[in-house]
């Protein structure tokens, strides 16, 4: 357990450092824009707004929020303090709603869509990759090119194709939104059903994209493991092939968990685009609207939230990994 | 004990520490050794004893954490690339794994030409260079005509190691550091390599430092033997003394643990 604690603490430290850095990036990037960022922001978005008092209110609020007249370091602490209070200011495009309320409305959609989809895609992909490595021949010959094709298929392309086939063509599933337009969010059967039906297309388009890459990775890992010495020894000790394949897949799967931790950021990027195609009311779609409405505070908050989500997910996966792979414990115990 | 003039390489308090804090590892721990001109010295140690680290420090490939190396009576100075090149004209090496010792993108000619250039032969006429290379190859029983336009990896392990000796033949260094030169090679090619090394030593009068884990081999080739354990020398002296009448416990254990054929190998001592 000692080794694991050390592992856990080192990961925690690393996580905190990354967190601070993510905050800093989010803080510094907009300030790298030439000129007064607040002035630029407000004037840019004022084109789309008629409410003059509203514009003035926002300007005031943002000079406050960013504290542009104060030194950089102080600005940073103000920013961090505000973020910790969930205060991201007002949204330009959805004024007078606050950024926090806009994010709050969309974040659960994204969490409930993306993480199950990525995990399901990971599981299916690993199973297929393992099968390809074990069965070889025909299955491998078909699966490999298909995996390569699918894993490099643009996420939005997959989304559009599913949408056209199952939404527009076969009309099995609705093409946009998180639930029916005529429904009000509530815990009724009709609403739930609508949510489930709307969930399918975005979900499967993310799953399909995730499958390909994972299958390729798992296949190489498994082939590598199948040539390991312990496979030969286990065979000569009379252990059944099926059981040995079990060892191999377990051992090949474990590094794949770290692989998932590393690639989750990339996958989330693709998944955001899939949300946009289906007008799914998550962060991706919110971000699209924010871009269209030149809503800087909203974009900044959304990117920060997504980064946080990815960081936490990565952290959790790595913690889990250290818990189940004995090799980590041994490496740390040295 | 040898007089000061015949000592060509001397170390004093040579130490190498890797890592820091809890991962700190002292690979070589205050090592003093003296190397006489023309002699064959073996450094014997098991894996992890620090013998390779010591070799790399002697070669100037890594810097010691502490301690000094004296070359021909003067403190070694290899702070600039130029001085390094000068030093390496005097000390050369043969490494353990011939398969990893060559750049597989360079042809054999390039390997040998490099040596001629290093000895200042860059401006020699082409024919002269070829002649020198052919001479070096014939010294190690290889045919230069068959080697031109070939890559080192097209040779067998033994042939590659012989090519290494041909390299030394061209470079004619004062000191040769042979780091386990025969451990990756079959027993029946080993004698060839060792014979060639010794013949070359006699011809150009160089000093050989032989690094090995095989105490029998050390006994076979060397005049002086150093036994190394955990970065320290535990015993040193003339080969016959050390091997046949070991004093240190470690040396005694090492020798008793090696299987023999004329004497009894006592299994009960484990």
């Amino acid at each position: 357990m000692e080794g694991y604690r050390k592992y856990f603490l080192s990961k925690l430290l690393w996580f905190s450092v990354t967190l601070v850095f993510a905050f800093m990036l989010n803080f510094i990037l907009p300030r790298l824009m030439p000129g007064d960022p607040v002035r630029a922001m407000v004037s840019r978005m004022a084109q789309g707004m008629t409410n003059a008092t509203g514009v003035q209110a926002i300007y005031q609020q943002y000079t406050e929020l960013f504290g542009t007249n104060k030194p950089m370091l102080e600005q940073f602490f103000i920013y961090v303090k505000n973020v910790f209070h969930g205060d991201f200011g007002f949204s330009f495009s959805a004024y007078p709603r606050t950024v926090a309320s806009v994010i709050k409305a969309s974040i659960w959609w994204t969490i409930c869509l993306q993480f199950p989809a990525i995990i399901v895609g990971w599981l299916i992909g690993n199973t297929l990759g393992a099968l390809a490595a074990y069965l070889r021949k025909g299955f491998d010959k078909v699966l490999m090119p298909v995996s390569i094709f699918v894993s490099n298929f643009p996420a939005f392309g997959m989304a559009v194709i599913l949408l056209v086939i199952f939404g527009v063509g076969l009309k099995w599933f609705p093409t946009s939104g998180g639930y029916g337009f005529d429904l009000i969010p509530s815990f009724t059967w009709s609403f739930m059903w609508s949510v489930i039906v709307h969930y399918q297309l975005p979900f499967w388009s993310i799953v399909l994209i995730a499958i390909g890459g994972q299958a390729i990775g798992m296949r190489s890992m498994s082939i590598y493991e199948l040539n390991a010495d312990y496979v030969k020894y286990s065979r000569f000790m009379g252990i059944k092939d099926r059981k040995i394949v079990g060892y191999v897949f377990r051992n090949a799967m474990l590094p794949q968990i770290t692989g998932l931790a590393l690639s989750i950021g990339t996958m989330v990027g693709g998944a955001l685009v899939a949300e946009i195609i289906f007008s799914y009311p998550g962060l991706g779609y919110t971000m699209l609207n924010a871009v269209m409405g030149q809503d800087y505070p909203l974009i900044s908050a959304a990117t920060l939230i997504i980064t946080l989500m990815v960081l936490i997910a990565t952290f959790l996966i790595e913690i889990l990994y250290g818990f189940i792979d004995p090799r980590i414990k041994a490496a740390q115990a040295d | 004990m040898p007089d000061e003039t015949s000592v060509c390489l001397r170390t004093s308090g040579l130490t190498k520490v890797f890592g820091a804090g809890r991962q700190k590892c002292v690979a070589v721990d205050h090592v003093d050794m003296e190397l006489c001109e023309g002699g064959v010295v073996s450094i014997v140690g098991e894996s992890g004893s620090g013998k390779t680290t010591l070799a790399k420090m002697l070669l100037g490939l890594i810097n010691p954490t502490e301690g000094d190396i004296y070359f021909q009576g003067k403190k070694r100075d290899i702070r600039t690339q130029k001085k390094k090149q000068e030093y390496w004209r005097n000390i050369q090496a043969i490494f353990q794994d011939p398969y990893c010792s060559y750049n597989m993108f360079n042809k054999i000619d390039a390997v040998l030409l490099d040596c001629i250039h290093m000895r200042g032969g860059r401006k020699l006429p082409r024919a002269k260079k070829t002649e020198m290379m052919a001479e070096a190859c014939s010294f190690v029983n290889l045919k230069f005509e068959e080697l031109t336009n070939k890559y080192p990896f097209e040779l067998s392990g033994g042939q590659m190691q012989r090519l290494m000796i041909a390299r030394i033949f061209l470079l004619k260094p004062k000191i040769l550091l042979a780091d386990e030169p025969t451990s990756m090679i079959d027993a029946c090619s080993r004698a060839t390599i060792l014979d060639m090394l010794m013949q070359l030593r006699n011809e150009i009068g160089m000093t050989v430092i032989f690094i090995t884990h095989d105490i029998g081999l050390a006994y076979y080739v060397s005049d002086v033997v150093y036994i190394m354990e955990h970065g320290k020398f535990v015993e040193s002296g003339c080969a016959d003394d050390v091997i046949l009448h070991p004093k240190a416990t470690y040396t005694r254990r090492l020798i008793s643990d090696v299987p023999k054929i004329h004497e009894v190998w006592d299994l009960s001592t484990v």
């Binding site: 010495d229 060892y247 | 029946c188 080993r190 095989d214 076979y220 190998w265």
Partner: protein, 352 residues
């Protein structure tokens, strides 16, 4: 009394392991055949150990794999018989071999114990799998008791069972592998360079353990494979020398080391280095050249190209194994007398 006597007679008559003309090959990616084991015959009796020597690539490790009678690509069975306790296993269904032979009749100790154990499994769980692969009805408790008593008898601490392979040192890992290999009390143990990756002290411990196994009757016979001749001389009763997939010399350990007949064996024995007095006065033998490529082996004697005493007919006539008195055998065109004459003449010249 009579039965006991009869059993004794049978024991003497039927060797524990007999291999007749075994040939196996590797099939490469390019569909080339490499005959790494070429018509090898051998016999090991109870209480005896056999050593196999040879330089790298001579087929000694492949022979170890082939002796198990359980083949998987790229190694393929070609011809010959493997008879264990009178049962010919070369024609048996692979699954029967797996269930009733591997681990129970014949066991294997791999070259690199470092990676021989599944890194993500505790030793005890692997032992469970091994035992249950042969007897699915054994309970966990029975397996644990068996493992514990077996480890204790072999002088290994029982805590090892609860550890992962990465938590063990190199020597301990190798001894654990040996203990796991003999858990089902096999009759024959095949050890393929079990100690060459270890330092001399751990090597000695491993050898001692193997010798104890033999002496205490845990295993009946052993085949020990290594390229280190002094080690082999100290471990086994008989020694076979392999060259290019074939056996070239078969003799007792003493004969093989001090009085080899085959020119290759002679060269090999002449290259032995041990830290003993007198070593510095001997001249080591060197054999020039490289072994033949087994993709297309020479038609005559495989050693002809490197042999000092080669004659024109060596390169064309294929040479069989010559059996001589005392169970010795060697593979050469010359008779025992002729060889001895050649060798003594050479020794006389060298002395002059």
């Amino acid at each position: 009394m009579k039965d006991v006597a009869l059993e004794w007679v049978i024991d003497m008559k039927i060797p524990r392991l007999e291999v007749k003309e075994l040939t196996t090959k590797y099939i490469t990616r390019f569909q080339e055949n490499i005959y790494a084991v070429d018509h090898v015959s051998l016999k090991v009796e109870d209480g005896k150990s056999l050593g196999i020597a040879g330089e790298s690539g001579c087929g000694k490790s492949t022979l170890a794999l082939s002796l198990m009678g359980y083949y998987f690509p790229p190694l393929h069975y070609t011809s010959g018989e493997i008879i264990i306790d009178g049962r010919n296993i070369s024609g048996m269904d692979p699954d029967d071999v797996r269930k009733s032979i591997l681990g129970t009749e014949i066991a294997y100790i791999p070259q690199s114990a470092m990676n021989a154990l599944n890194p993500t499994q505790k030793i005890i769980n692997f032992i469970e799998d091994v035992v249950q692969a042969h007897d699915p009805y054994k309970t966990k408790k029975e397996v644990h008791d068996l493992a514990r008593s077996s480890f204790e008898t072999l002088g290994l601490p029982a805590e090892v069972l609860q550890k992962y392979p990465v938590e063990l040192s190199g020597g301990m890992k190798q001894r654990t592998v040996i203990a796991v290999s003999v858990i089902l009390s096999p009759k024959v143990l095949i050890a393929d360079e079990p100690s060459s990756a270890l330092d001399v002290t751990s090597q000695k411990m491993v050898i001692k353990m193997l010798k104890n196994l033999m002496e205490n009757g845990f295993i009946k016979s052993m085949i020990f494979i290594t390229h280190e001749l002094p080690l082999l001389y100290n471990v086994t009763d008989d020694i076979m020398v392999m060259y290019a997939g074939q056996i070239v010399e078969k003799a007792t350990a003493k004969e093989a080391v001090f009085d080899p007949l085959h020119p290759y064996a002679k060269g090999l024995m002449g290259s032995i280095i041990v830290p003993e007095s007198g070593l510095r006065n001997t001249k080591l033998t060197a054999i020039p050249g490289v072994p033949p490529n087994l993709k297309n082996p020479p038609s005559g004697c495989h050693f002809a190209d490197r042999c000092k005493y080669v004659m024109p007919e060596c390169k064309v006539t294929s040479v069989g194994l010559r059996e001589i008195f005392g169970g010795r055998a060697y593979r050469c065109i010359l008779s025992e007398g002729e060889l001895r004459e050649v060798y003594s003449k050479e020794a006389y010249q060298n002395a002059r």
